[in-house]
């Protein structure tokens, strides 16, 4: 066969240029912006100084938002994991004919705008919302429970947004497990539960791991659930960025916070991959 050295490069070009134009260049812009100065007049002046970064760490208020973001993200990951593994496992084991339909139901929320879905929780959790309305109608409550504008409501919003990602990641991983392995384990003396612990659970870890990472990263970058369902004390770091960039038009400071978040997530993802050894698990599965 004739070898054409330019061929691989030509074939890769569309993908590479998409990544460069849509990802690398915008991120570079943000990083460059983060060093600019903001004049009292509101104009952005090109510069190379670390004032924006210094400002972030001057006051504990900003880092505390970062810490809260990570805590809420971890809580979301944990809740999604518990709530996601069970349906994923059900999809894996069921031989029901409506399984494809059920899988579509998991993806159904993606067909509705994220904002609408988040707003709809107000109608469920609000003072005159569904839950309070029903509980007061049947006489269990005299005054409405206040379920909105706290961290619980934020977590609720985050979970309804992110749960499908967790379910699908775990499901794909489970689906790849050869069912003969379970039968082999059973024939060697395992009960159903022991076979789950010995075979299914460890072999689904790559999916669990990927799902957790995805949920973590998506949570730490989202601002809608805290903005719509949270109270003043429930802001996360993305809300801060949103307020700086959209609210006060302070692009340099907003960019600096974004860069800090980007670096932090980069370090977390790197460490996670390295020590939780996703790659190692994949390697052993070929």
């Amino acid at each position: 066969m004739e070898s054409k050295p330019w061929k691989p490069a030509a074939l890769l070009a569309p993908a590479v240029s998409a990544v460069i134009f849509l990802l690398v260049i915008p991120v570079c812009f943000i990083v460059v912006y983060s060093f600019w100065l903001r004049a009292p007049s509101g104009a952005d002046i090109p510069a190379f100084q670390f004032g924006n970064y210094a400002k972030f760490f001057e006051d504990f208020f900003y880092p505390s938002l970062l810490i809260r973001t990570i805590r809420v993200s971890l809580e979301t990951v944990l809740l999604c994991l518990v709530m996601g593994y069970i349906p994923a496992y059900f999809f894996y084991r069921t031989e029901s004919r409506i399984k494809p339909f059920l899988l579509i139901l998991v993806m159904l929320p993606f067909w509705i705008s994220f904002i609408i879905r988040t707003l709809s929780w107000i109608n469920i959790l609000g003072d005159t919302g569904l839950i309070n309305h029903v509980l007061m109608k049947i006489g269990l409550l005299d005054n409405p429970l206040s379920m909105l504008y706290n961290e619980g409501a934020v977590l609720m919003g985050l979970i309804q947004y992110l749960l499908p990602f967790m379910i699908l990641n775990i499901y794909v991983s489970l689906e790849g497990i050869d069912k003969n392995l379970l039968e082999a384990a059973r024939s060697l003396g395992c009960t159903e539960w022991q076979a789950f612990r010995e075979v299914t659970l460890p072999l689904s870890l790559p999916g669990v791991s990927a799902g957790c990472l995805l949920v973590f990263v998506l949570t730490s970058g989202t601002y809608l659930p805290p903005m719509i369902l949270g109270g003043p004390g429930n802001d996360m770091i993305a809300n801060l960025i949103f307020k700086r960039v959209v609210g006060t038009l302070d692009w340099p400071f907003g960019s600096a916070i974004s860069t800090i978040l980007l670096l932090l997530l980069g370090v977390i993802v790197y460490t996670y991959n390295r020590y939780l050894g996703i790659n190692q698990i994949f390697k052993s599965l070929q």
Binding site: A185, E198, S284
Partner: protein
């Protein structure tokens, strides 16, 4: 329970009582409305290797899975060592299972794979180590304890699977097409390995396959199945040489089938007129009445081909003149299609002796009467 794999010990045990390891009595299995296994009565003698042979969908795997406890029979009873096990869950049946795709635990080392069953039998650590070591030696893969399954070849993985199954000293070894994922040469080797190991351990083995060569070469008994029903059961030679019906004759080996009609007894033979008008002599039997429609079965290997020359004296009966229409050379043997004067085409396989016949050459084709099988004609 014998503690080690001492072959002599097992043999002695086997001799004193010819008991049944597994028995199926009137077993039916239906999936929704599909009948997978119908009225199956089977006996598996202790220490033997029995093959369930048949095309895919014949129910052979379902039988294996019912014995294993992975499926439960819709009707009928299954006994393992005389005990009814219909309600015994799989993990309490003490069986060794071998799968087509090896089914080794990919996340566990070879040691942990082989030791898996021992762990759930609470075998002490030192004994586990010894038994795993011995099992790996038996499958001729000593010293691979620390490797991962993915680091071994397909054939090696299947040996590990074998070690994992025998280390628990199962009452029955169940093998579901264990060799079909391996390539030709390796399959041959593994076949002998499984055979030797089975004889050495004397463990009752039920082997499911669709490969007649596997079945014929390693079984003590063969159960030929079709559409969920047992067609024939017997030793390999018996099943091969005396097929009871068209299906068995067709499934095992290359057979020629010619419809005919019994003319009557003639000396030691039964004379048959086949539909192309030729008369053929088959072994004499009182079973056939004149005028009865029959099907003549001749194995392709049983034909003798002789050159059509003046100095060649061919047997008087069952010899016909024909022309080689087609041939394929297969190394040790040659497959011929010979067309007779009246248009009948016969398939003959013969060993390559001197020079294979050429296409278009006129030959004499002969079959000794004892190799002519007669079957009742089916509709």
């Amino acid at each position: 329970m014998p503690k080690s794999f001492q072959p002599g010990e097992r043999r002695a045990l086997e001799k004193e009582s010819k008991s049944l390891a597994v028995e199926l009595k009137g077993v039916y299995k239906r999936f929704d409305k599909v009948v997978a296994v119908e009225k199956m009565d089977l006996e598996f003698e202790e220490g033997t290797l029995v093959t369930l042979l048949g095309p895919s969908g014949c129910g052979k795997t379902t039988i294996l899975r019912m014995i294993a406890g992975l499926e439960s029979p819709t009707e009928g009873d299954i006994f393992i060592q005389g005990k009814r096990v219909n309600d015994t869950p799989i993990h309490k049946r003490n069986l060794g299972m071998i799968f087509q795709n090896y089914a080794l635990f990919p996340h566990k080392t070879i040691f942990d794979n082989v030791a898996f069953g021992l762990k759930y039998r609470s075998v002490p650590r030192q004994e586990t180590r010894d038994r795993v070591k011995r099992a790996l030696e038996m499958v001729r893969l000593p010293g691979v304890e620390d490797r991962m399954p993915s680091q071994l070849s397909g054939g090696q993985q299947q040996r590990i699977a074998l070690a994992r199954a025998i280390v628990i000293e199962p009452v029955v070894l169940l093998m579901d097409e264990p060799l079909s994922a391996l390539d030709e040469n390796l399959r041959e080797e593994m076949r002998m390995e499984v055979d030797n190991l089975q004889q050495l351990l004397g463990v009752t083995t039920i082997f499911v396959t669709h490969d007649q060569r596997e079945a014929l070469s390693m079984s003590d008994r063969i159960v030929v199945m079709k559409d969920g029903r047992k067609q024939q059961e017997g030793g390999p030679e018996d099943v091969y040489n005396n097929p009871v019906n068209h299906f068995v004759a067709d499934f095992l080996g290359h057979s020629n089938f010619i419809n005919g009609e019994v003319l009557g007894r003639e000396g030691e033979y039964t004379k048959v007129r086949v539909e192309d008008g030729n008369e053929i002599y088959a072994p004499g039997s009182e079973a056939w009445k004149p005028g009865e429609p029959v099907e003549l079965v001749v194995r392709a290997q049983k034909f003798d081909l002789l050159p059509d020359k003046e100095d060649v004296t061919a047997p008087e009966i069952n010899t016909f003149k024909g022309i080689v229409k087609d041939r394929s050379y297969m190394g040790g043997e040659v497959s011929y299609f010979v067309e007779l004067a009246n248009g009948t085409v016969l398939h003959a396989i013969s060993m390559v002796s001197l020079k294979p016949y050429r296409r278009g050459e006129t030959v004499l084709i002969h079959v000794p009467p004892r190799h002519c099988g007669l079957l009742k004609r089916e509709n």
